[in-house]
Subunit: 348 residues, 4 copies
């Protein structure tokens, strides 16, 4: 079976992963409407491609928070990579470094931050965190990440409680005994997320800021109102995200919310987006609508499931090739030439 | 089979109820367009969830007509509960009381009002009625209900004649011989509803008012014009309803009509809605659009069909948990924080 | 099998008619888009039903060109009724008279006008005609119809050539040898319609007017421009029609075109509509949008195919009952109460 | 099997062509969204047909760049006709001449330009070209075409690189060894198109102009901005095209882009369109929206696959008959009567 596009990796993962793992990765909240809308919303955006522009020399590099990456696609934070591949997040880290892009490691990794860093020294990595009821635990994690060279903190804002993912409930999902959420000392019921603090508010950004010199990026913003607050509270970046449709079902598709957020932010901080990216041209659309970079979640897991770090590199390379090609066919030779003039929303 | 969401109860009921009973409960008028639209219309509404608001202490209680209920979901009036479960409306009453919510008992119950009240003393109950050709019969019912402690009258306005439900015609639907519409003395052909008075007009609200001190709620309003009339004729509440799509097919979905009715009413009376509620987030949408409370019809019957009062409690508990979770994920800790800013209508 | 709604008759006809006859009746031009749109367009119209109006005494009678009919549904002109039932148009005439409504007999009948009239003396009938290259033949037909007591002429305007109905081409459709287009003396190739005159223009209305004192109704108008011309050229009525989707594919659905035509006509002549009527509530929608009466084509043929005149009466009676019920459920007791306030176009 | 409409030829070709050839012809880029949209977009356009206009004498001829053709449908440039029929482009040329219409021969023909011309002397032909890295090769081709009597040059602008057609990648598509891209001397990897120059810009139109006295038509324009540039750089015609959906997926359907281009061009040069034409009425729609002529790609290949030049003539004859009939049914007797008043965009 030739691996030609990301759906090929999806089909592979669906076929070869244990059902409980596939279901966990695939899960959306409730009816999975938002999970699927993330993809469908891209299809409602049409390109307005321009012709006869010199695209003989293509430059698809970009910078996020000042650091250059090989193309505007990073790895979104997702949990439990060992469910996809024995080496887990170590493979993810290696693939991201090999492709010279950014990997956002999740708090819910099945490898420690130290293992991740040791696996791919020098790679560009950000650390995703929740704020726990036990603030000392959060503080410790932040300082550990900073000490290990992670270059930004990504605070997930959309999980005061875990969304209702029906298949996980049916399957009674829990990690197999030999896997652990190694970054957190205490054993605890992962699916209940009982350590997370649902009383977190914007003021906690100030607290987080007091702990670290790292830039703070907030993940899970979907409205102009919250985007405005994020800027006001001093974050360095926003990831427009609905947690892959795993939290509140029937919120907006992220590419639709991106437009609203970008408009509100007016360039004051960088805006990124995740959710629904399946083709290089989706990346082009997101950039045309104002994203500085996109992050992929499930496709990265499919790549891992296929062949570990090699499989993830395959996924990234396909996206890279497709992105470069779609840029060229739309008439852009450099990322800086991408703009809103390239797209329009379909009336349908 | 785990009962995770309301569709699980639907599947169970479809599988285990006698076809004639399932068909009767499931029936919509004509092509069932409105029945199905009630559900689809919810899917066209998108949340605008807000992040980082303290949702550690959730309070989902509300009041209807001044009485507190544990969450804004009551039981809509539906007929013939013994078709779903041997104890019929007695089980419904018990489940509603156990969950501390409101049960609107139907005139077409297979238990008497007295049996219903005896089964769950002290429960919050409203009584649904039609106006019969024989006004004395209606008067007697009203006074009986008032005497038994029902706390409001719900006048159904959308059934001057019974809608055409094709499957019921094909099945020649009628109650099995051992069941009776016990609240009405005379035996009569239920499906012809020949005792109902199609000459009823708004002036009959005055007549009804003269019989009782109970608040009067009108059920079946779908337009701003009728909402305005309802207020003018002095009702205390409006249930936006299309009778579960069982009367005039191709009228509006109730959640769409709700917007128009709420706008017309301008807070002068409470507005409720039924039809199409299948998830806790549907409740949140209805409240965001101005409903004070929603009522569930078919899902309650599925719960009964599953395990009587226990099954109905399961259904209510699932809705309650889902409602609480969706509120939290949308950034609301109290019902009073829910507002129109939480939703937008999808362009699709 | 209970015959509960018109689709039941359709299913019967599809099952029991010879394929070539079914295909001929069912055929639409090209991709059958317009044929199907005629039906779908009704589904995009939503009622705004009004409650608590006295609907105890229902009066569904109306008048067309001054003559009373029992309800606003007549029989549209369709050809070759013997393909559906041995007695052909004689049965159609009897059923229409029995139901006290109007039957528009087609030039392409398999019974003569004389046979039709003899079968149901005193019935309300209009005569549908094309203008032939041989004008004397047309003149003779007109005068024959007038002499036989037909009360109006219906000139079909949308068939300068026959539309391309793929199945008829594949089947090599032609009348079986024992059937004849009896109203036309010469034998000729029916499907080529080679006798029809594609040079007919609005001026021929004057010519037709000069032949007869009968009112002239023009059938096949779909635009405001042509509606304006029809009024200017002195017709007494307009049938908004796209020939059941059998002529130009991808023109408008008739119920959509009705709105435009009614607006242009401003009450100066009566406007009717055919195409896509499948339920009594469709009739209500058409009247709400300004039609004085609707005409049914294929459903009448399904009725004939089921049981001849009896089957057609069944079809008409079902439509009548459904129309009366939908009027009552929408809050109208008389046809004169039906108006545009009853409907709105769905945004979908 | 009767060949009644173009889909019949499609079905035949799909059944009888080798899979690799069918896949190559059918291929769209990525998800094939644009390929399919080309067809769907036509279905969203509705006719506003006019009645009672004299359509007894139909004249469907038109002129492109001053030369009369029998009807406004030509053959779009597509590659590798020998994959469809042994005689390849020679058959195409013969069929086009027989039907008195224009054939745009592709650079990627499997016959030489000389063979094509010898097969059908005197036929109206344009030559499609890319600009190669080796400009001398391009110059030679242009001058060869001019010398052979081709009457225009069609410069394809939308292929700086080849689009990603997944099936071709999976199939490892390449020409069978006995076929050659005969117009180009060197053997090369067809699918990599490595000889094409992605640095081409609008200034190269001047260079091309300097080589030849032939009119230059630019193919692949989809936006008003590029249409304006095309006029400014002095082309004689524009073909609105998205390469049959084979280049940038999720660009606009060509019939939608046509409206924008026609508006920008304001009659200064002729505008044509290809992509999605499947019925005569599609041609009528394109002309109503301002195209001077349409070109067919895949349907021509299906015709070849069916029966070589005879099959292609069948395809053209069907389109011709359908176009004539739809014109007549819409009320137009001459191409000059076709205008925007004939169509409207569906709200759906």
């Amino acid at each position: 079976m030739a691996m030609v596009c990301l759906s090929d990796f999806e089909a592979y993962a669906k076929k070869y992963l244990p059902k409980i793992a596939w279901d966990y990765f695939a899960a959306g909240a409730d009816d999975c409407t938002t999970r699927d809308e993330n993809i469908l919303a891209y299809k409602r955006i049409r390109f307005r491609p321009r012709m006869l522009r010199d695209v003989s020399v293509m430059d698809i590099r970009t910078k996020i928070l000042g650091t250059e990456i090989s193309f505007p696609v990073g790895i979104a934070p997702t949990g439990f990579h060992q469910l996809a591949w024995p080496d887990g997040e170590k493979s993810t880290a290696r693939a991201a470094r090999a492709m010279n892009t950014c990997y956002i490691a999740s708090t819910y990794s099945t490898c420690t931050l130290e293992e991740i860093c040791a696996a791919a020294p020098g790679g560009l990595r950000w650390f995703q965190l929740y704020i726990h009821r036990n603030r000392a635990a959060s503080q410790q994690l932040v300082q550990r990440a900073e000490g290990l060279g992670f270059q930004a903190l990504v605070l997930t804002a959309d999980l005061p409680y875990t969304g209702k993912r029906r298949d996980d409930v049916r399957n009674g999902f829990r990690l197999p005994p030999h896997m652990k959420v190694k970054n957190l000392e205490q054993a605890f019921e992962v699916c209940k997320m009982s350590l997370l603090d649902p009383s977190v508010t914007w003021n906690d950004i100030h607290w987080l800021r007091s702990l670290t010199r790292l830039p703070i990026i907030i993940k899970g913003i979907l409205t102009r109102e919250d985007a405005e607050l994020a800027v006001r509270y001093g974050v360095q970046g926003i990831i427009v995200s609905n947690h892959g449709g795993r939290q509140l079902d029937e919120g907006p598709a992220t590419i639709d919310a991106l437009v609203e957020v970008v408009e509100a932010v007016r360039g004051r901080v960088e805006v990124y987006v995740d959710g629904g990216i399946r083709k290089g041209s989706d990346v082009l659309k997101a950039l045309a609508l104002g994203a500085k970079c996109v992050f992929i979640g499930r496709p990265a897991l499919w790549g891992l499931a296929y062949k570990g770090e090699e499989g993830l590199q395959d996924v990234l390379r396909i996206l890279q090739d497709e992105f470069r090609l779609s840029m060229a066919l739309a008439g852009c030779a450099r990322v800086s030439e991408i703009g809103q003039h390239l797209v329009q929303f379909s009336k349908l």
